[in-house]
Subunit: 209 residues, 4 copies
């Protein structure tokens, strides 16, 4: 119930030296590994430091508190997604909408499926922490790529704010994946088709009756 200030989420130092950056990466990878294997249970700073092979004191040298560490993880994940999406949008230029959506779904599944617990945990933390400002740039980049992807098909898409539509599409895809990902080792064979169906349906269907 502790109230957090967005300002507390910034990493502690600019880390201009490459040794620092390497340590930070090690920490973030350790954190990601723990979340991947154990979800938010078992995700504590002492454990992260241990898995990273550094002392707990060092961890706090780079992150002023646990939330900042989580936020950094979140930022990293969003930046990676933004980048992938950007590449995808570029590659799909000139392709028909179904092809583009298929590719989008595949991308989403690749990211989410490999580490369902990590993805779910990050999602959860994104809601809990005041990270809006921190992630704004990534969110915008993601929005832009999606707009880029959708804009050339805007005439095949039912009317509506394309940005909102883009975000909804992401959330719909995530929801279906999270549900099915839970404990399983492999995704159900029909999952990709169902997500495709949901996304395409949403895009094509007019919202008013």
């Amino acid at each position: 119930m502790s109230t957090l200030k967005a300002s507390a989420l910034k990493p502690r130092k600019p880390a201009r030296q490459q040794r620092s950056q390497a340590t930070i990466d090690t920490i973030l990878e350790a954190a990601a590994r723990i979340l991947t294997k154990d979800s938010l249970d078992g995700f504590n700073t002492n454990r992260v430091a241990a898995v990273a092979g550094i002392s707990i004191g060092s961890l706090y040298q780079y992150f002023p508190n646990k939330e900042a560490l989580t936020a950094a993880l979140l930022l990293r994940s969003h930046e990676a997604q933004a980048e992938q999406l950007k590449a995808l949008a570029l590659a799909m230029r000139g392709q028909p909408l179904p092809t583009a959506v298929r590719a989008l779904v595949k991308l989403a599944m690749r990211g989410q499926w490999e580490q369902p617990r990590l993805a779910a945990a990050l999602d959860h933390e994104e809601r809990r922490l005041p990270v809006e400002k921190l992630l704004r740039a990534s969110h915008q980049a993601i929005d832009e790529s999606l707009l880029d992807l959708l804009h050339e098909h805007r005439h095949s898409i039912a009317p509506g704010d394309l940005t909102v539509i883009a975000r909804d599409v992401i959330d719909i895809a995530k929801a279906l994946m999270e549900k099915d990902a839970d404990g399983r080792r492999d995704p159900p064979v029909d999952l990709e088709d169902r997500i495709y169906r949901a996304v395409m349906g949403y895009l094509v269907m007019p919202s008013a009756v």
Copy 2:
């Protein structure tokens, strides 16, 4: 990281006197209130007892551990949903599909919107706890009502396992609501339309291209 056994989630007593049942209700209401206001942070047994105005010992008379309390909350919520859905399915018999879907969306929003944090917290806990068996009956009832709702329109719906479709529809609706519900006081005006669009789109769109 503690591993839980499903068997530990059962409530403790059959509650013979009505005083007991009243206490149980008080506890569950206190728990729900805390989750509504503070989400999972601040949801601890001592606080629940304090808010309920009872001693911590009393809480543990009725629930063998915190998880059992959460599970009871979960069960209660699912049972309520199942009941509402059943009534809805009955009322929508003979109505055209769009009308039925509209009604479904309105129902979902009413449930979710009033207590978005509670709903999100319960969702999260449902994934974390081994409650499958406990909730099986409710899940089945929900499935049946949805099937009931969809079956008469099966010819307007793209082919696929209707049960899977029904569940996906629920998840899609939930996802859009959770995202928009987060901190806000009132739902965005267009939310209902967007959910309707997503659900109808999923129902109508064939999954294979």
Copy 3:
């Protein structure tokens, strides 16, 4: 670490009515059963009441606190032992010492072995609680029977205070049994012989070199 007063160990009422006595017996039997199966772990008043099939309130009607219940159990056990010993002493009159000691060992083993956990728990509690006064009569009766048993052989026994000798004999026998009884289902075949040997050795051996 609570300090106990011997006066707190008395049962609450004289229990002149036979219904009361029956309830008391039920309670004591439940307590004994729990100690037999689970040792001191799991020996709590609520559980005793539950196993006895009465309410916790009723239990406290007959025993002012947990210690009083334990004390009653202890008394009962000592009284039974005293009685058995008395009978044994009588039966062994005129028998040679080895025969008497054999019989004594057999008796001890019968009592101890059947319920090793109960016996150990009671032993432990006897040391912890201020029950000396309460058990004095039983202790005296036991001493007397042992004296009775030993006195006619006093010329075969090494010199020393016969009462002290009698008590030591009991403790020696108990020690060997408790050690061997621990988890096993059946006593080692040689246990009786070893106890016999220890007891006879102690009796016959002069203490000074």
Copy 4:
């Protein structure tokens, strides 16, 4: 009634800095002091930490749970005993049996008498906890020393498995001491003689009539 696993009894850290080892010693000494003064009542982790002058968190850095602390105490005590016994066995080589037994009794009394409640508590916990594996080495060392002590007198000792005999001897001595040690400040004057008598009697007396 909680079931314990032997694996949970290991200490937590290897204690790299000497500060750690000092803390561990402080903790163990505090624990021993509490058991010495108050027996198992009042032996709780918070109190141990308080008496040790450290925080409760520090205690749990070194011992994963209360049982592990108890086990460490047990191990320490057994190791000390093993060492003393070894020295004694060495010193008694070539001495007549009565001399050796006298020395043994004196040693046992010194250990037990000074801290009768500690000794009794440890005995009790040794039965309750799954420490067999942990203490195996110490037990073997003790057995060996006793064998060493007894073997050269095997012709004066009644036939039987010398190891079993050695253990019985220990148990007999302990039993007499525990009984007499209870609350008293000083041991009864005749205690040493009585223990000597019991032990010698057991050694010399043939078990079968």
